[in-house]
């Protein structure tokens, strides 16, 4: 009888230990065969092979469809033609046209820009969520021999070098309207904050106080820049006017503060502080006040990024000596890991609050936070880091 009870006890312990040892689980479980199926007819007209490929990859990357090889197997069908800088496209369900549109690519940067816009309309129509195919990324690459600022389409096409100071450039971030990029450069031999105007290719130095000036982030309304300064004798968070000046100190600790990131409504700022030992993520009112620590998936968490729907903060989390992308749900405090291949760092949310872009060992990846699948962004540039996305 005793042996029986011991056996039962061990069995229960075994079961309990199995369930407690939970591996990182997907935030939302998506059943592959429940996704709407879609078939993309080859685009007719000029440059058809390339544009068809762009359209298929945009729809596939959204993670919202089952891509079918035959029209008869698909719930939805996409047809389009591209002639004389005009994309003529339709989304059909059975015999019914869900929508048809004409997109003029003359005002756009390229013919594929029209395809990206069409793909986003399809995604929005079927899923109700914004598409990210038209998004752009800014990032750092040392491919040219020094760390410089680059811009590219989110699918990796159209990469352009924006700076060529041949010193160290770091941490570029778009303004909400996508017309400016703020970043850190050692052009003056000190780390200073610069703002590049993409419309006229001019730039302006907006923070060059004593010590370091770095990690700028535009406020959602474009009026302010949050950044890290050490001018008053310690590394702290400040805001300045977007054109420079009027520094307002937000934090006051003995530790190191860094990496401010605004909430989507501009009322709060998430940032890093090691005032309690290792770096952790805190939030503070954008006017200053008492900080609140966010629960994270690791005792070392940096590089916060706030989702556009305001609900989650993603970050770099050190796990077993390597970095992974972590995410915390602000309402529940639940923290999970979204990657399991290190070193995955510096996440940046896209506008759909589902996908993020991050850097892993010199490459950039598109991460689906629902399925935890990562798709490498084919940039053909070496040592890429610190991506930031527009629109957000």
């Amino acid at each position: 009888m005793n042996r029986f009870f011991i056996f039962i006890g061990l069995f229960v312990c075994f079961f309990v230990s199995i369930s407690l040892h939970a591996a990182p689980k997907p935030v939302i479980v998506i059943e592959e065969n429940r996704l709407p199926s879609i078939y993309v007819e080859n685009i007719s007209g000029s440059d058809r092979a390339r544009l068809t490929d762009v359209l298929k990859r945009d729809l596939s990357a959204s993670g919202s469809f089952r891509m079918m090889d035959a029209a008869k197997d698909a719930e939805y069908r996409v047809e389009a033609s591209f002639q004389k800088n005009r994309l003529d496209g339709s989304l059909l369900k059975g015999s019914e046209a869900i929508f048809s549109e004409v997109i003029d690519s003359n005002d756009m940067s390229s013919s594929q820009a029209a395809v990206h816009q069409f793909a986003d309309h399809i995604i929005e129509k079927i899923t109700g969520r914004p598409g990210i195919s038209s998004s752009e990324i800014t990032f750092i690459s040392s491919g040219s021999g020094s760390k410089e600022v680059y811009i590219a389409d989110i699918d990796g096409a159209n990469a352009r070098q924006l700076s060529s100071d041949k010193v160290i450039s770091l941490g570029p971030k778009f303004s909400s309207d996508g017309k400016k990029i703020a970043y850190t450069s050692y052009k003056s031999n000190f780390p200073d904050v610069w703002v590049m105007d993409l419309t006229n290719k001019k730039r302006k130095r907006v923070a060059f106080y004593p010590g370091i000036n770095c990690q700028p982030a535009f406020s959602p309304d474009g009026e302010k820049i949050a950044l890290t300064l050490s001018k008053d004798g310690n590394t702290e968070l400040y805001t300045i006017d977007a054109n420079g000046g009027n520094p307002q100190r937000l934090t006051r600790t003995r530790g190191t503060e860094a990496s401010p990131c605004w909430s989507p409504d501009g009322t709060e700022i998430a940032y890093v502080s090691d005032e309690r030992g290792s770096p952790q993520i805190y939030t503070i009112s954008s006017k200053g006040g008492e900080p609140t620590r966010i629960k994270t998936a690791s005792p070392y968490a940096t590089d916060p990024s706030w989702s556009p729907d305001g609900k989650r903060v993603a970050y770099s989390a050190r796990v077993a000596g390597r970095f992974q992308i972590g995410v915390t749900d602000l309402a529940t405090g639940e923290a999970t890991l979204l990657t399991n291949q290190g070193d995955s760092e510096t996440p940046s949310w896209t506008r759909n609050s589902r996908h993020l872009v991050y850097a892993r060992n010199g490459d950039l990846y598109l991460l689906d936070s629902f399925t935890q699948k990562s798709l490498k962004i084919p940039l053909n540039l070496t040592s890429c880091s610190e991506p930031h996305i527009h629109p957000y």
Binding site: N189, F190, G211, N234, R318
Partner: protein
């Protein structure tokens, strides 16, 4: 009548009490504006404030500084730390001695990190290390306005390998003499 009077009296007294309580509550709830000043989360006031960094001028160039003279006094740090170990303190003292002998010379302290953390935090940590040295020097009597700081984070390792020995040598603060 008496009952009514008592009730009225009680009502008056309690309403006055309630008003007073409300006033105290509201007064307690208002927080002073914290922009640019006031107490931080841990209640520290400027007890350890070694003061604002001195303004840069054209001669303050970290790239042109002489890092050799004081190279023997490069200070090394523990992982993810900006505290100066007791074993490293004599080096800071030597730098302070040098500054006392060269009171008109200005120095810049360059803070660095090893490659294992993330880039942005490492840039701030490098500066925090430089500031810790500066604070210590000022405590030893060095002139605030003669000490500048800069950080290179993990961008300028002294040793390029990825091993414990290299990492130890990269977590450093170096004092450069400004020309």
């Amino acid at each position: 009548m008496k009952k009514q009077q008592t009730l009225l009296w009680m009502l008056k007294k309690s309403s006055a009490f309630i008003c007073l309580a409300l006033i105290l509550l509201i007064a307690g709830c208002t927080t002073t504006e914290k922009v640019g000043g006031g107490k931080g989360a841990n209640g520290y006031e400027d007890l350890y404030d070694s003061g604002a960094l001195p303004e840069r001028d054209e001669r303050v160039n970290p790239e042109g500084a002489d890092y050799r003279t004081l190279a023997a006094h490069t200070i090394y740090f523990g992982t993810d730390s900006f505290t100066i170990d007791s074993s490293e303190r004599s080096k800071v003292e030597k730098i302070a001695d040098w500054m006392r002998s060269n009171p008109e010379d200005r120095i810049i302290i360059a803070g660095h990190c090893d490659s294992r953390g993330t880039t942005q935090y490492n840039l701030a940590l490098g500066e925090r290390r430089a500031l810790a040295i500066r604070e210590y020097l000022i405590g030893l009597g060095a002139r605030k306005k003669n000490i500048f700081t800069v950080s290179y984070g993990e961008e300028r390792p002294a040793v390029l390998s990825e091993n414990e020995s290299a990492w130890t040598k990269n977590r450093r603060a170096q004092a450069g003499i400004l020309k």
